[in-house]
């Protein structure tokens, strides 16, 4: 007759030695005998109901000498899961316990501590990278604008693993202390509550991990396929168009600069003239527009042709507090680049909840805060910045969606 086999997710961590021993012995009492072990699975074979002792030994590998020694004493080697070797023996006085001196057993658990410390290491490294001196200077701004449900789920998942490892460390330290005091590990600790919880949590966490990996890959593919620099739409946008400013300045002739297309082979679209929309958890509306025009016949101080550029980022936060936090982060940002100015200073402007600006020659930057809306503007041109601020102010708040 064919053996009846039952495969179960291994519900315990390596460091839950007492729980694993009690669980396996109870399974044997019901006639389910451990057949083999895998990284995440336990396979049981149906047989006679029996009182069997299961013992979990911590070892770096399945050492043949160790196994033979245990076998000589009457212990059967069942299998290995990570650093846990599983042995069993019938309840029989002739077969001594594997460990007859608890103090000698304590050092074998050091390997568990080492493994747990190693598993905590990536979190420490991650923390140093994120918060340490080498971290991105505009980390808060970046997280406010980019954190999404996926990141939140990934973070919860990492935290779960972190908490489990930390608990393992404390638990193992407790076991070592117990052994050093001369007390043996227990073989009938209560484990059913933990087992029921794990049988629910472990599959959910596994599914979540798979879903997260799949979503990350999906997001990468969709990013790679989307247009990097989509054209500016015809409809009215909640930000000032460069043409409005040029009209006010009295220019009669100007045209969209195409200088950005020199990168056309590497990117999709015009790197100087585009409009992008996206959103995340905290800032569901995030818009960015970049425009660059050439005005013939007008020379700028450093260039033969006057080519003003206007880059506007507009954000709608979930609430005004978040908007203020972002505005302050953007105004005090540390990382400058060709179209970003740093250290904007607070200034007075009626009709808004916050205003910061910075001016250096033809380059100007300002941040407007009103309610839950933040507008971050970079402008490089010879036309008056005050006009641009006024025009942008008139666009606040913008209701049309």
């Amino acid at each position: 007759m064919k053996d009846r086999v039952r495969r179960l997710l291994w519900p315990f961590q390596d460091w839950e030695l007492e729980q694993q021993q009690a669980w396996l012995a109870d399974m044997a009492k019901q006639g389910w005998h451990l057949r083999s072990t895998g990284p995440g699975l336990a396979s049981f074979r149906k047989g006679e109901q029996a009182n069997v002792r299961y013992r979990c030994e911590i070892a770096p590998d399945a050492n043949q000498e160790q196994i033979e020694l245990f076998q000589a004493a009457g212990w059967e080697y069942v299998g290995r899961r990570n650093c846990v070797l599983v042995f069993r023996a019938p309840v029989d006085e002739q077969i001594p316990e594997i460990h007859t001196d608890s103090r000698e057993q304590a050092p074998t658990l050091r390997l568990l501590v080492r493994n747990l410390l190693v598993s905590l290491l990536p979190f420490l490294v991650l923390t140093v990278i994120v918060l340490g001196p080498g971290s991105s200077p505009d980390f808060v701004e970046q997280q406010l604008l980019e954190a999404n449900w996926l990141d939140l789920l990934s973070l919860s998942f990492l935290l779960y693993v972190f908490v489990i490892s930390l608990r393992g460390l404390f638990h193992t330290a407790g076991l070592i202390r117990k052994l050093k005091r001369g007390r043996s590990l227990e073989n009938n600790v209560p484990y059913r509550t933990v087992l029921r919880r794990r049988q629910l949590v472990v599959p959910v966490m596994l599914l979540m991990a798979v879903a997260l990996i799949a979503s990350h890959i999906g997001a990468r593919i969709s990013d790679a396929q989307s247009t990097n620099f989509p054209p500016i739409p015809e409809r009215e946008l909640p930000m000032v168009r460069l043409s409005q400013l040029l009209d006010q300045a009295g220019y009669t002739e100007y045209h969209r600069s195409r200088t950005g297309t020199f990168l056309a082979e590497r990117v999709k679209g015009d790197v100087f003239n585009y409009y992008r929309e996206r959103g995340n958890l905290l800032f569901p509306v995030q818009q960015k527009m970049s425009e660059k025009f050439d005005v013939p016949g007008v020379a700028a101080p450093d260039q033969p042709t006057y080519s003003p550029i206007l880059i506007t980022r507009r954000f709608e936060a979930r609430n005004p507090d978040l908007a203020r936090l972002l505005a302050e982060q953007v105004a005090s940002r540390e990382k400058a680049d060709i179209f970003r100015m740093t250290n904007l200073q607070p200034a007075e402007l009626p009709g808004v909840d916050g205003f910061w600006r910075q001016d250096e020659g033809e380059a100007h930057a300002f941040v407007l805060l009103k309610g839950n809306v933040v507008v971050d503007v970079y402008y490089n041109g010879i036309d008056p910045i005050e006009q641009l601020i006024e025009l942008q102010l008139a666009k606040l708040p913008f209701k049309q969606r």
Binding site: Q64, L69, A73, H99
Partner: protein, 105 residues
């Protein structure tokens, strides 16, 4: 760690060293320890394996031969000295106890 500055041995270590006055295979030590202790000490294989591994690291014992399957252990000179020191320590403990208990009676 030198044998002189070692702390007291565990019972398991002491009996394994005693059993190794004659070179033995690991599995034979289980019954040897039981025999030497007159059946008083039934040493578990995990305890024995731990003691053997540790004493090898401390160079109290060495593998005399290794034919790939069976390993036989024997005492080193350091192991013999450690055993002698432990015996003297135990003798001193026993005689102190015996003297004081006799005086009390």
């Amino acid at each position: 760690m030198g044998s002189a500055d070692r702390g007291p041995m565990t019972e398991a270590m002491y009996y394994v060293l005693l059993a190794l006055l004659e070179p033995q295979h690991g599995y034979a030590l289980l019954s040897a320890v039981s025999d030497i202790s007159g059946g008083r000490l039934a040493m578990g294989p995990g305890t024995l394996y731990g003691v053997l591994t540790r004493m090898q690291k401390e160079k109290l014992i060495v593998l005399e031969e290794d034919d790939g399957r069976r390993k036989a252990y024997r005492l080193t000179d350091a192991g013999r000295v450690a055993l002698q020191l432990e015996l003297e320590r135990l003798q001193a403990m026993v005689s102190d106890g015996a003297r004081l208990l006799r005086e009390e009676c």
